[in-house]
């Protein structure tokens, strides 16, 4: 099975570039150049130097002994939370800023939900001395204040988006509108494997370093490069795409992507796109998205701002359709419980997004001999308010006996 994007930008029936003509030239420039740049020796050297010496890669692969014994199996943690800026997002922004520079762009725009991608973009803009504008839904500006302050200190302009429901979907619309209005000097660093071709492919390639490292790290530690399972959370799907990429054609490795069910699939407050969505077009891509019968895009909900997206990247729509990846979902509460369990067993406070990946561990019966890799896409500093809130609400004893 071929899981790569085809010449026209499709994964099977999903993908493409459903964009207004006003954006055609910007995207064409990127489409015509991205593969050439990614394969350029000079680019490769600069990218890998920055990943290593700036972002701190390779990120460790850690055997989680106590969590493994709790679940009766072998769990390895891929530590994307230890990257500079605290999440996998930096892998993408370093790559894209180097591309932007090679395309002669001087102004960078980005959308952000939780603020992790905004921070990762503001960071590389500071590093390269480029102007940075981050669009963020007004609601997210209010609920992710620490990241807003980080972006500002990094010199970025944070534009609160008042349109629509004032969250990630609307921030993405606004970034696209900015790009339409600034076709010459601006590069749009999109934060996940979403949007029109070539973004899904570009971001997948830049995040694929995660699975590239898992392969040799696992081989080094266990003698085998292939785990039985890889588990990652999905919002737009970039950390999952990166964690799966080098294993996609190896069907023996089972892949699980975890969506946010929010308050429950049937609660009306959920972000589980694969369950609740239907094929359609969002942000220039033909994929699966949450919408009503009239084709109006609906507002998702999750306790985790980074999973709060009504669509999913077209590669995932294809992986879902072909059955290569199994898409599961966990609720806010299950994610919170899993976050406390990981923290108290391993001393690692995960991002709320990443906690979703851990919450499926309890829903499967793994064998003692099996090897599971779970991607910790980011760290939990930004989520301390939600965690504290949960601690206050829960009965003390309950948290202690997880």
């Amino acid at each position: 099975m071929n899981y790569n994007v085809d010449e026209k930008g499709y994964y099977g029936e999903f993908g493409g570039a459903f964009i207004p003509e006003m954006m055609y030239s910007n995207l064409k420039e990127l489409r015509d150049n991205y593969i050439i740049i990614l394969n350029d020796e000079d680019f490769k050297a600069e990218y890998s130097d920055l990943l290593r010496n700036y972002a701190g890669r390779p990120s460790p692969l850690f055997y989680a002994k106590r969590l493994s014994s709790f679940h009766g199996t072998n769990i390895y943690l891929k530590r994307e939370d230890l990257n500079h800026t605290g999440a996998h997002k930096i892998n993408n922004t370093i790559g894209q800023i180097l591309i932007a520079k090679r395309l002669g762009k001087t102004r960078i725009i980005a959308e952000t939900g939780a603020g992790q991608h905004g921070v990762a973009t503001a960071t590389v803009c500071a590093l390269m001395g480029l102007k940075c504008i981050v669009y963020m839904g007004k609601l997210d500006v209010e609920r992710q204040e620490p990241n807003v302050m980080r972006m500002k200190m990094l010199g970025a302009e944070v534009v609160p988006v008042l349109s629509g429901n004032m969250t990630l979907k609307d921030a993405t619309n606004e970034a696209i509108r900015d790009w339409i209005s600034n076709p010459v000097d601006t590069h749009y660093i999109i934060g996940s494997v979403v949007g029109p071709h070539p973004y899904p492919d570009l971001v997948t390639r830049l995040q694929s370093v995660i699975s590239e490292e898992i392969k040799w790290q696992l081989e080094e530690q266990t003698g085998f490069s292939d785990p039985d399972f890889i588990i990652a959370c999905v919002g737009g799907g970039s950390n999952a795409a990166g964690s799966f990429y080098h294993y996609l054609e190896n069907e023996k490795v089972k892949l699980i992507a975890v969506e946010a069910a929010g308050k429950g699939i049937d609660s009306g407050e959920s972000a589980a796109t694969m369950v609740l969505g239907h094929p359609g077009v969002i942000h220039g891509s033909r994929t699966i998205l949450m919408q009503n019968d009239d084709g109006q895009i609906t507002e998702p909900y999750s306790i985790s701002a980074g999973l709060d997206y009504p669509g999913i990247g077209p590669l995932h729509a294809f992986l879902h359709k072909t059955g290569r990846v199994s898409y599961e979902h966990v609720s806010d509460t299950e994610a919170l419980e899993a976050a406390f369990r990981l923290t108290q067993f391993e001393g690692i406070i995960p991002a709320l997004e990443s906690a979703h990946a851990f919450a499926v561990l309890g829903k499967h019966k793994f064998r003692k001999s099996e090897v599971i890799v779970v991607n910790i896409s980011g760290r939990g500093d930004k989520d301390m308010a939600a965690y504290m809130n949960y601690m206050k609400q829960s009965v003390r004893g309950k948290i202690n006996d997880i």
């Binding site: 207004p20 003509e21 055609y24």
Partner: protein, 257 residues
């Protein structure tokens, strides 16, 4: 013959097309706005089907879309409001929207309904020419529906030629690299772009849209093309107030003077 083509056969200049959002200012204003626009002397009307995420639109049309959705507008309702429209109105009518609401309605059913209702053309800014050609052009033709494609200042001459080949009825000349909305007049670069397009002598007529806000910009646009399209300024005039429908006649004559 399609009414759009007929219009341009009779009238090669000063064509005025007005965009409005169906369901705005109220759910039932569609027919009243259409009739008033016709009696005020509008040549062509683009009926907007509201979408939650109108990527190519600026704040004014974003807001009219959201209001219309809140009022309960959808394609099914619009077609039922329009079912007898051809007994009363003869000018070309177009539907302008985004692809997702149409896809969910069903492209075939949509084209069938358009034909039955007497819709002459469709403008979907996020349906790229290549996809239109491969997937939908045969369907549109079988229902005698024109598909109007856009060009922008960034569109290369070669691509303008291709778009001109695929577009039917007219070519929508987007006046600037921007979303819909009002700017302050036209810059020198914009006028050069209009001239460049005019000198290409496209086989389709061209209408300039985006940023036409008053008599002056309308007249200037008409100098360089077959006419102009007004959207945001018209929506702004309505100002979410059904009482303002009375002002449509004055508005149109202020543009034409």
């Amino acid at each position: 013959m399609n009414r759009i083509n007929e219009l341009f056969e009779k009238k090669s200049g000063n064509v005025l097309s007005i965009y409005f959002t169906a369901g705005y200012p109220t759910i039932n204003s569609t027919i009243e706005i259409l009739k008033t626009l016709v009696s005020a002397g509008t040549d062509m009307i683009e009926i907007g089907v509201p979408f939650s995420d109108p990527l190519a639109d600026g704040p004014v049309i974003q807001k009219s879309n959201l209001s219309a959705l809140k009022n309960g507008m959808n394609l099914k309702l619009l077609f039922s409001q329009l079912q007898n429209i051809r007994r009363e109105i003869n000018i070309p009518l177009l539907i302008m929207s985004y692809i997702n609401p149409i896809l969910q309605f069903g492209m075939e059913e949509f084209c069938g309904k358009c034909e039955k209702t007497g819709i002459d053309g469709v403008i979907l800014p996020d349906l790229p020419p290549e996809v239109y050609m491969e997937e939908y052009s045969a369907l549109f033709q079988s229902h005698h529906l024109n598909n109007i494609l856009l060009i922008s200042p960034q569109t290369t001459a070669e691509r303008i030629r291709e778009i001109d080949k695929l577009s039917t009825g007219f070519v929508y000349v987007v006046s600037s690299s921007s979303t819909t909305g009002v700017k302050n007049g036209f810059s020198k670069e914009q006028l050069e772009y209009f001239l460049r397009v005019r000198n290409m002598k496209l086989h389709n007529p061209g209408l300039i849209g985006f940023g036409i806000s008053d008599h002056e910009t309308y007249e200037l646009a008409c100098k360089y093309s077959n006419g102009a399209i007004i959207g945001s300024t018209f929506i702004k005039m309505l100002d979410n107030d059904p009482g303002r429908i009375d002002r449509i006649r004055d508005f149109i004559s202020s543009i034409r003077t």
